[in-house]
Symmetry: C2
Subunit: 162 residues, 2 copies
DNA sequence: GGTTGACCTCAAGTTTGGTTCAGGTTAAAG
DNA sequence: CTTTAACCTGAACCAAACTTGAGGTCAACC
């Protein structure tokens, strides 16, 4: 009595967009959007409705987790594009593509920590000198990579304390 | 011979928008934008041109640093609005308003660190189970505050390992 | 006093990550 | 066989943080 019952959605081997939405917690419109962006793919029924392989559930979970970590959709899509197209991705595949996120997170945590410490030094003291302050000068230890504004100050002179 | 020379821009006590742009590294259009949003203010000359007090230089520096730290402009504006309007802000004023950023950064660093550690556990192992994985479940230790997607998964069941 | 560069305003465009709506089709249940 | 829920497309809209462009003014130099 526990045999596969095609009437119960999670026993079918394909999911409708509604099933996928319900089980991933992502709205149907967002799933359409991901599909337009190439992050997920579906086959179409004769009536032009989407059907997703179960594996898509994991892709969507990966997308949401990655977004949570702060990765833009375009980057997530690029990472997903490196998964094999001819077989279901394995644990090893997922491990590989998530390694990049891990490194990225490490770097961002590092940078934020430095920023936090400089905050105390620079804004905290009220100086915020454009000339001296490490915060306003992205050239030295503060990374130029990262999601911040592209350039902060190229060369600023601050001759007095005004 | 080192007396104040009004011909040299940084010896005048007001700055044109171009001066401010050059010295802050922020484009003129962005400065106009900040002004429309109320983050900075200017007086107008008889010819309707903007003139900024030197102090604006520090405000702009504060804005860029805050953005670097990931604070939205609206929040930066709200913080700047708490500065005294009747006098030039002191070191103490700046220290106070930057304290909030410091706390915010601490929290975000904490959250990112947890996220990173879970990444290794969850995506790294390839499971990414919607049911079990802490990453996909925002209810327990992973904060619901923060700049991530609003809700991740309300209740997802994953009956098999597909 | 004329040319040039900096300034002005307002409107529209850009990107990211979607949501909402209109108008129409499909599929499943009764 | 009808009704209703779920699905389809495409276009429009949202917010943030700006940039770009058009069309016009101002000011500084020679």
């Amino acid at each position: 009595m526990e045999a596969p019952n095609p009437a119960v959605p999670w026993d079918r081997d394909e999911l409708t967009v509604g099933d996928l939405a319900a089980r991933s917690g992502v709205s149907v419109s967002a799933l359409h959007f991901y599909e337009r962006k190439g992050l997920i793919a579906s086959r179409r029924t004769s009536g032009n409705q989407r059907r997703y392989p179960r594996e898509t559930l994991r892709r969507v979970a990966f997308i949401r987790v990655s977004q949570r970590v702060g990765i833009p959709l375009a980057d997530i899509g690029a990472a997903l594009a490196t998964l094999p197209g001819d077989r279901t991705p394995t644990a090893k595949d997922w491990r590989r593509i998530s390694q990049a996120w891990h490194d990225d997170l490490d770097a961002r945590i590092e940078q934020l920590s430095r920023l936090r410490d400089h905050l105390t030094d620079c804004i905290g003291c009220g100086c915020l000198s454009l000339r001296r302050c490490a915060l306003t000068n992205p050239h030295d230890e503060l990374a130029e990579a990262g999601p911040g504004p592209r350039t902060l100050l190229v060369e600023g002179l601050e001759p007095d304390g005004a």
